[in-house]
């Protein structure tokens, strides 16, 4: 008989309980991981390298890929150019209704994308509240590539705005104050001090925004429709091709998975780059 077990009567029972706990924890971790990873992995078993490469040359796939990348990049540039100064002004000032603005920034995160698309359509559609006036001027917004970009900005911008707002709030004002007392103008201070000190986090927010814009489906199909070459982005092409060219759909889905992986790796690499303390 084990001498330790003789000395401590409850020893064997505790060892058994400890082993059970470890096995239980391992099963839980494995189950969660497999639940998330298996569907993604299954996509790769639905095609072969030859079929995948052949589908990549499909004009429909190329068109969806080009449109998605182009619109997502444009959306991202607009979000960064408008969102960065907005987040800075918002985080550094107190003004009436700031709480309401804060809530509105976060709203698209919890709003169902289809509702977001419908809301955009009601406002900017051909007979929409504002859209009808643009329509009179001969400018049509809904069901155009512009509508794709507007939908992407609407659903994806909170990822960048929240991140930028939080970074600017965390940054010790002493850095900017030191720059001002040294003779730098507020704009020079923002460009040379504020932006570089928050750059890691801002890029991380931008990458997440790009990823969300690239994967946008609900708002786009409601507001921009599904016109190949004009508004049919990658997620829409996946949906359409599941009832047609199955392989094209799988190829686009795999491309989206690969891009998503790259985005997550980029975010993880940049996540450690927080705001320095003075």
């Amino acid at each position: 008989m084990d001498r330790t077990a003789m000395k401590f009567p409850g020893y064997k029972k505790k060892r058994f309980q400890h082993a059970l706990t470890i096995i239980g924890a391992a099963i839980l971790v494995a189950s969660v991981t497999l639940y998330l990873a298996l569907p993604v992995a299954a996509l790769f078993f639905q095609t072969t390298p030859d079929l995948f490469l052949a589908s990549l040359a499909d004009p429909e796939v190329i068109s969806a890929l080009t449109l998605s990348l182009t619109t997502s990049v444009i959306s991202l540039v607009i979000v960064i150019l408008v969102g960065t100064p907005f987040a800075y002004i918002h985080s550094r000032n107190t003004y009436p209704g700031k709480v309401i603005v804060d809530t509105l920034i976060d709203l698209p995160l919890v709003l169902p994308p289809a509702v977001a698309g419908l809301a955009l359509l009601v406002l900017w559609g051909r007979v929409g509240i504002l859209g009808r006036y643009f329509n009179v001027l001969g400018v049509s917004i809904a069901f155009t590539t512009l509508a794709v970009i507007m939908a992407q900005i609407f659903v994806a911008s909170p990822f960048y705005l929240r991140q930028a707002k939080s970074l600017f709030e965390q940054l010790d004002p002493a850095y900017e104050q030191a720059a001002l007392t040294l003779g730098a103008s507020p704009i020079r201070t923002f460009v040379l001090i504020t932006l570089p000190l928050t750059a890691g986090g801002l890029v991380s927010g931008a990458v997440m925004t790009f990823g969300r814009a690239l994967g946008e489906f609900g708002a786009t199909i409601m507001f921009a429709g599904n016109l190949p070459g004009v508004t049919q982005t990658m997620p829409l092409a996946v949906y359409v091709n599941m009832s047609g060219d199955h392989h094209a759909g799988i190829t686009i889905a795999i491309l989206l998975v690969l891009i998503s992986f790259a985005i997550m790796i980029a975010v993880r690499l940049l996540a450690d780059k927080g705001v320095p303390r003075a």
Binding site: Y175, A178, T181, L182, G183, A184
Partner: protein, 232 residues
């Protein structure tokens, strides 16, 4: 000469301070945390706007409430060493010291010669290409001091510059500060908790309490009964 008389309503009390400092002299402001010391410096630097009063430096009006004059901080030419230094971590030591000169559009050769000479004087020459984030606390404070005096300020202000420094670094930064003030013949305001600093380099001192001067005089005459004066 620095001549200040400012009033500002803060959350718990009204800051009401008047200070006069002659060129080449160091005026030490003491007081418990939240007594208004840093707000006084921020008001003089233009980072915070007082409600009323004036700030005059060498005949120039930096702030004057009756005439609504208020120079922005970038036009005041005040060297400000912040608590915990606030050196720019993403810039090298050389770039940190050159920052103010570049902002003031000095010529590149003037910037370079002035920065090199300052770094030598501050014993920072070997650290010139090092990123400021990799410096020790004492080195950061010396860079902050070099950066503040590089712009040839008309006033030097130091907000608790010796916090978190070891004894040798405190002595080094303290001696450097005294040497700089004597050489440049500019007024200096120093906020500190340490009695040793006041006795070592202070020409005059005051103790703030709830925004008001509780005592003012020569550091040698300072009573040892103020709560903020108990540190060594």
């Amino acid at each position: 000469m620095l001549d200040v008389a400012i009033q500002k309503q803060l959350r718990d009390f009204t800051l009401d301070v008047a200070v006069r400092v002659d060129p080449g002299k160091i005026f030490v402001i003491m007081g418990a945390n939240g007594s208004g010391k840093s707000t006084t410096l921020s008001s003089i630097a233009g980072l915070v706007c007082p409600d009323t009063g004036y700030v005059r430096l060498g005949g120039e009006i930096l702030y004057d409430s009756p005439t609504r004059s208020n120079l922005p901080p970038e036009d005041r030419r005040i060297g400000y060493v912040f608590q915990n230094s606030a050196v720019f971590p993403h810039l090298t030591v050389h770039e940190n010291v050159a920052f103010g000169l570049r902002a003031r559009k000095e010529k590149p050769d003037v910037i370079n010669s002035r920065v090199v000479s300052l770094l030598e004087k501050m014993d920072l020459h070997d650290l010139s290409p090092v990123k400021a984030k990799n410096l020790s606390g004492g080195q950061k404070q010396r860079v902050a001091l070099a950066r503040a005096i590089a712009i040839q300020p008309s006033l030097l202000m130091l907000d608790e510059p010796f916090t978190a420094l070891d004894i040798d670094s405190i002595r080094a930064v303290r001696d450097l500060t005294r040497a700089v003030i004597t050489e440049m013949q500019i007024p200096c305001l120093l906020v500190t908790h340490r009695v040793g600093d006041i006795l070592e380099i202070g020409d005059k001192a005051c103790v703030l309490s709830h925004g008001k001067k509780e005592w003012e005089g020569s550091p040698r005459d300072m009573p040892g009964t103020f709560p903020a004066c108990q540190c060594p």
